[in-house]
């Protein structure tokens, strides 16, 4: 009864979509040059951060506009370990992940006491604090806090020469694999026991508590895991951009970009943050090119497009598509089944 023809068709559609998406993502660097490939790699690591933020904000209802700080933490962990200690990139990933998760948990504890706008303000403070800390503790050549990785950048290995001969291609594929693994883990997480608890806590704290759910543990875990994703995203960003940087504006901007990606894509959906990340990155890139010699106009254009998108699709691209799909299916089924409710 669980695997009716409807369920099997849904599974088939899901399988076909997955293969198509993976195919396109693998093919992109073969088709496009270094500039576009790097842009797509950028969309991928922003997707990773957005996935994490979606867990916290979408599924658990804790709004953060400070995730740029965890992102920066991951970027610096990778940057410093590679540059000053000669670590290979992949070895720095788990360090960035754990570091961000620990700091995330530490922020999650005080966050237990506040909600909504107050929590947003606290996380905003985090975004403001982070660059100051970096400027105090990171002093690279020239006295700035910019860490350049060009000198220690990883080279594509021999075995990958058939599909990733160029460095940008290799960096893209590394990012793609990490993002893919994290995506699969995330889908498992939100569809399972923990995901149900996240939504229960978001929707109805008192009810969740009487079900035996430890509110503090769930909320802090959500914070830690989402920070971990942001940290890994930052680590990947250091790889793709070959630098780590933490200007006040950049950290703040980055935080907002993650949130925009989540909302545009569709909160509390598994695919939403990925779709949102690509839309935001590509939109930003295209609007930047659109009007020559008018640097103030392109952000405005970007903003207007976002507003229009939210107006047309208030529950995001994935939410909107899902609604459309349901309506079509409902129309197809109309008349065949009209059972009545018991009360």
């Amino acid at each position: 009864m669980k695997s009716g023809p409807g369920a099997r068709r849904a599974l088939l559609i899901r399988g076909a979509t997955t293969i198509a998406v993976v195919g396109v993502l693998c093919w992109l660097p073969q088709q496009y040059g270094p500039t576009e490939t790097t842009l797509y790699a950028e969309a991928l690591f922003i997707a990773v951060a957005a996935m994490g933020l979606n867990l916290l904000t979408g599924y658990n209802g804790q709004v953060s506009i400070g995730h740029g700080a965890f992102f920066g933490l991951g970027a610096y962990a990778t940057g410093i370990l590679m540059l000053d200690h000669g670590w290979p990139f992949l070895a720095t990933l788990p360090v960035a992940a754990v570091l961000a998760a620990v700091v995330g948990a530490a922020v999650g504890f005080p966050a237990l006491r506040v909600k909504g706008l107050y929590l947003a303000l606290i996380t905003l403070g985090l975004a403001a604090l982070f660059p100051a800390l970096v400027n105090k503790f990171v002093k690279s050549t020239g006295g700035t806090s910019l860490v350049q990785l060009y000198r220690v950048r990883p080279k594509p290995p021999e075995w990958a020469s058939s599909f990733a001969a160029a460095e940008d291609q290799w960096r893209y594929y590394v990012t793609l694999v990490v993002a893919g693994v994290l995506f699969a883990l995330m889908v498992n997480l939100v569809r399972g026991r923990f995901g149900r608890a996240l939504v229960a806590v978001r929707e109805h704290e008192a009810a969740a508590e009487t079900l035996g759910i430890n509110l503090a543990r769930v909320k802090v875990s959500a914070f830690a895991i989402s920070a971990l994703y942001a940290g890994v995203a930052g680590s990947l960003a250091a790889l793709v951009r070959l630098q780590a940087n933490a200007g006040q504006i950049e950290v703040f901007q980055q935080s907002i970009i993650f949130l925009v990606a989540v909302v545009i894509g569709g909160t509390a959906t598994t695919l939403g943050p990925v779709v949102g990340a690509f839309v935001v990155v590509l939109l930003q890139d295209h609007t930047a090119d659109l009007i020559k010699d008018e640097p103030t106009l392109s952000p405005a254009l970007f903003g207007i497009t976002l507003i229009l998108l939210m107006y047309v699709l208030p529950d995001g691209l994935v939410g909107g598509c899902r609604r459309l799909f349901r309506r079509i299916r409902g129309r197809m089924h109309a008349g065949s089944a009209t059972d009545s409710a018991p009360t």
Partner: protein
């Protein structure tokens, strides 16, 4: 043997004292009903029992003093609370609600229990993948009860399970509760306005008035007592 033993239970909401020293108990596998008019403190009593509000006095569950413990602790000890106004999670599907009800369990029979409650409540089975918030009040009430049972509780606290249900559904529900009690030996403490039906299901009852127990006894005894009937039960 007593499963739940409550002595001098007092509690309320901040400065507002609602309960003024209640003594009652529930035996293993027993069904007990708490009756009383609106505002008597029935909901408050259940809230105090499941740790949702602070309380004074002594609550002993299965030999352990659980006074003042958090709701999550009581849930883990085997107390399931189906609150008034249901408390199902609107944004989760029917099946997800049942699964989240099994949060405290670590065994592998959860899926089998989900199927079991779908058999008991076929209305829910038809709506397996539907969001709980999009169902009728009666369906949500059934879901809330099924979800409470998903934890395989030793004591089920039910706050006005018949509220908002059509009379025929209420009868069906009470029949099911009786079956469940016989089959699983789940003790139940039921708060009800529908005194007649509740007293037929329960073995004993307490009558609550403004935070005090004013009458108690075997269900048949309470039902037969003219004074109690007229003054408190509206029968």
């Amino acid at each position: 043997m007593t499963l739940l033993s409550v002595t001098a239970l007092a509690g309320g909401y901040g400065p507002v004292k609602v309960l003024h020293g209640l003594d009652f108990e529930v035996a293993h596998g027993e069904i007990v009903v708490i009756l009383g008019a609106n505002g008597a403190g029935k909901t408050t009593t259940l809230r105090a029992l499941s740790g949702m509000i602070p309380s004074d006095g002594e609550i002993v569950f299965d030999g352990e003093d659980v006074t003042g413990r958090k709701p999550q602790v009581l849930a883990r000890r085997g107390v399931a609370h189906v609150p008034q106004g249901r408390g199902t999670i609107d944004e989760l599907t029917v099946e997800e609600n049942l699964r989240v009800g099994a949060w405290t369990r670590r065994d592998s029979d959860v899926a089998a229990d989900v199927d079991r409650w779908f058999e008991v409540f076929p209305h829910l089975a038809d709506r397996r993948t539907q969001q709980a918030g999009s169902m009728s009040g009666g369906e949500q009430q059934m879901l809330a009860i099924a979800r409470g049972l998903m934890s395989r509780p030793r004591l089920l606290l039910l706050d006005e399970p018949s509220l908002g249900l059509a009379p025929i559904i209420t009868q069906e529900l009470f029949a099911q509760l009786g079956d469940l009690n016989r089959e699983l030996d789940t003790a139940m403490l039921i708060v009800e306005q529908n005194a007649g039906l509740a007293l037929r299901l329960a073995s004993r009852g307490y009558v609550l008035e403004t935070g005090r127990i004013v009458a108690q006894g075997a269900a048949t005894e309470l039902e037969g007592n003219e004074d109690v009937r007229r003054a408190y039960l509206g029968l």
